[in-house]
């Protein structure tokens, strides 16, 4: 039996050691008096877009202030306790869901954003997707040839390479299943250096092997003189309808309640990099000019279905690199804008997430969860946003200003969910599963593909019947030409002259691949161009 519980992780170098002494670091929890800070550029958010932008702009000699709602935690704090991770590192404590409760959303909330908790999969944006953006949304100068130099630069910086070690047993399901069925599969490029292969990417990497923003671009920006104020929520952009003059920020205490102070950040250039949901919410709270009412609309999720396989051999789905193999057998099968396509991957299973996803109650739920060591979990990420019946969701504000995503689960999406469940069940049986259960509240574990195929035809495929999740929030502030885009391809907000958006919210559709490298590459391109303009 695999058992890493006696493995000791110690003496790990942490770039944030002595950060308060060596860098310009402000903990919002300690701010009890109103203050105003000024810089050349204010960046709101420290995830994939904010981190990359901060490094590039700081290196160009610009004075940068980063503001982050999450707290600063780093490898010395990552204790691999699942509950602590959700509470400290995830939006809404990992309980974020769409308005009707049908889709659970995992998204980071910490210094480094989702890059601190993602599972390291790093793909370049597919050509099909970029071509679609050009044809349908008028996104110019953003072909693969335009972006490849920036992808290459980020791959080099973040150690992105196909995973060279053997896949864990969970991911090996992809290889065994797809080989037997003659389906496409390949190795996932990961942003790691010296990875210990232990499997805790989702709880904050304790060895700093994962090349997240927390250990790469952010320390580089700090070293170059940037200021980071963390535990501080950007509430509003102050603007006069043409320019943003300041960002109004609320420092938060350890319980994430306001300390009572207000911090005002002033700069001639403002970058929104809070990611999908957060950036549109900031723009909505700020009542920015938005003549066509686009802010927050067309928010996409790579809506994800699940299937659980039980194997005679040990899977230990909690250990080992969480994602190392994938299949594009169904990603673009129906054309870029046909019936929804989906990418097959695996997901790591730790007990808490497993308990939530398996559903059910009582003795049967208990029986399912106690089979955890022999359970594998596949996922299918559906490419939303490419078809007219896939308009995505709309970011709304609760009365207290918190965002909530209204994402109707359409028949188009449910058709994809149904097909993706069939594919996953077939793949897991082909991989040697003794029993497979599609993610559906009325489905049992089936004991053969023939039995499953027949029984699954009788299931109803409706929202809440099929548990759905998302770890990729995209869109809500889309790039495009004047008629279709809120920002241009350089990330400049079309209706406020000094506001830029450098994060995943600028994607006009979902991607068809895990998004981090797309955000890195596009942000690197746009931040480099911005730095050149600001220095000119």
């Amino acid at each position: 039996m695999q058992d890493l519980s006696t493995l000791k992780i110690q003496n790990i170098a942490d770039p944030w050691d002595n950060a308060r002494e060596k860098w310009n670091l402000i903990d919002g929890a300690t701010v009890s008096d109103d203050r105003t800070l000024e810089a050349d550029v204010v960046i709101i958010g420290t995830g994939a877009g904010g981190g990359v932008s901060a490094e590039i702009l700081s290196a160009a000699g610009l004075k940068v202030i980063l503001v982050e709602a999450g707290r600063l935690t780093s490898s010395r704090d990552f204790n691999l306790n699942e509950g602590d991770a959700y509470r400290q590192l995830y939006q809404e404590g990992a309980m974020r869901a769409t308005k009707d409760g049908a889709i659970t959303i995992l998204q980071g909330r910490t210094v480094g954003g989702t890059t601190v908790v993602n599972w390291t999969s790093s793909f370049r944006t597919p050509k099909e997707t970029l071509n679609h953006w050009r044809e349908r949304f008028g996104v110019d100068n953003t072909s693969r040839a335009d972006l490849d130099p920036y992808f290459q630069r980020m791959e080099k910086q973040l150690g992105i390479e196909p995973w060279a070690m053997p896949a864990n047993a969970n991911n090996d399901v992809i290889k065994r299943g797809c080989e037997k069925l003659g389906w496409d599969w390949s190795v996932i490029p990961r942003n790691v250096r010296g990875c210990w292969n232990i499997g805790y990417c989702g709880m904050g990497c304790p060895t700093n092997a994962k090349q997240s923003m927390l250990v790469t671009t952010l320390p580089a920006a700090m070293e170059a003189g940037a200021t980071l104020i963390h535990s501080a929520r950007a509430d509003k952009l102050v603007h006069d309808g043409t320019r943003v003059s300041a960002v109004q920020v609320t420092p938060l205490n350890h319980d994430r309640n306001p300390t009572g102070a207000t911090v005002t950040l002033k700069a001639p250039t403002i970058i929104a990099a809070g990611g999908g949901i957060q950036t549109p919410a900031l723009l909505l709270r700020s009542e920015v000019p938005d003549p066509d009412g686009r802010v927050g609309k067309r928010t996409f999720l790579h809506v994800t279905s699940f299937a659980f396989g039980r194997y005679d051999r040990e899977i230990a789905p909690y250990y080992g690199a969480p994602q190392s193999l994938h299949s594009d057998q169904f990603t673009f099968t129906g054309g870029v804008d046909g019936p929804i396509g989906y990418k097959l991957e695996m997901m790591p299973l730790h007990p808490g997430l497993t308990g939530a996803l398996l559903g059910g109650f009582g003795e049967q739920a208990r029986e399912h969860i106690t089979a955890l060591p022999n359970t594998a979990a596949s996922i299918a990420l559906m490419r939303d946003g490419f078809h007219e019946e896939s308009p995505g969701g709309t970011v709304e504000l609760r009365d207290n200003g918190e965002p909530v995503l209204d994402y109707p689960v359409t028949d188009y999406l449910l058709d994809g969910a149904r097909r993706s469940l069939y594919s996953q069940v077939e793949m897991q049986f082909a991989a040697g599963a003794r029993a497979v259960r599609p993610g559906h509240i009325r489905a049992p574990f089936y004991t053969s593909w023939a039995q499953a195929r027949e029984a699954m035809a009788d299931l109803s495929y409706q929202a809440l019947d099929v548990p759905l999740g998302s770890a990729h929030v995209m869109g809500g502030c889309p790039m495009g030409d004047k008629d279709r885009g809120l920002v241009d391809a350089q990330g400049r907000y079309r209706h406020l002259e000094n506001l830029y958006v450098f994060d995943g919210s600028v994607f006009p559709t979902s991607l068809g691949v895990n998004p981090q490298l797309s955000i890195y590459g596009l942000s690197a391109r746009n931040a480099t161009a911005l730095a050149e303009r600001l220095r000119a």
Partner: protein, 187 residues
């Protein structure tokens, strides 16, 4: 937008209901809803030893813990329903006011006999049901194909399952050997 209020502003009752799935449900149970709304404006605060769950939530949920977790509670030495509720409370600590507000609306709704009947198929308070009855109640609720009971079942049971199995003690009862040792514990 209905309102552009900033965090900390007062909750507009009608707006709150309009925006909320649970609120829509509260209106659907008719007379009972006025009780719920009164409850909204006089929040009693958390129960002793809890940061978020209120006395009435603890009383409502305590009887459900053992049948819901189906042996998961008993598998941990010395654990009882209060440990599970503490775990739930800790999970809620990661949430937001708006999100917890929705949960409390559901829990307030379930204080009402008419709502329990609609959602779970029984008028009786969970406290007044035996373990066998509670298992039947949960089974009836879980198999209900109406939208709202289905949403309520997921909305309540999913975080409780998660909350329990993220505790290191309960995690070890699933066959998971536990995480590597970090920090000062590794020294």
């Amino acid at each position: 937008m209905d309102q552009d209020n900033m965090p900390g502003s007062g909750v507009d009752r009608r707006g709150f209901l309009k925006l909320s799935a649970w609120g829509g449900a509260a209106l659907a149970v008719g007379a009972g809803a006025s009780t719920l709304l009164t409850g909204c404006s006089s929040d009693p605060g958390p129960a002793t030893g809890f940061k978020h769950l209120r006395d009435k939530d603890v009383t409502l949920l305590r009887p459900l813990m053992s049948p819901l977790l189906g042996g998961g509670l008993e598998a941990v030495d010395g654990a009882g329903p209060d440990q599970a509720l503490q775990a739930f409370d800790r999970l809620l600590q990661g949430g937001t006011d708006g999100q917890r507000g929705q949960l409390f609306q559901l829990l307030d709704l379930m204080q009402l006999g008419a709502a329990r009947w609609w959602i779970t198929g029984t008028w009786a308070h969970f406290e007044e049901q035996s373990d066998a009855q509670l298992r039947d109640t949960l089974a009836h609720w879980a198999s209900n194909d109406s939208g709202f009971p289905k949403l309520a079942f997921k909305g309540l049971t999913q975080p409780i399952m998660m909350a329990w199995y993220v505790t290191p003690e309960a995690a070890l009862t699933t066959g998971y050997p536990g995480p590597p040792v970090t920090g000062s514990n590794a020294a």
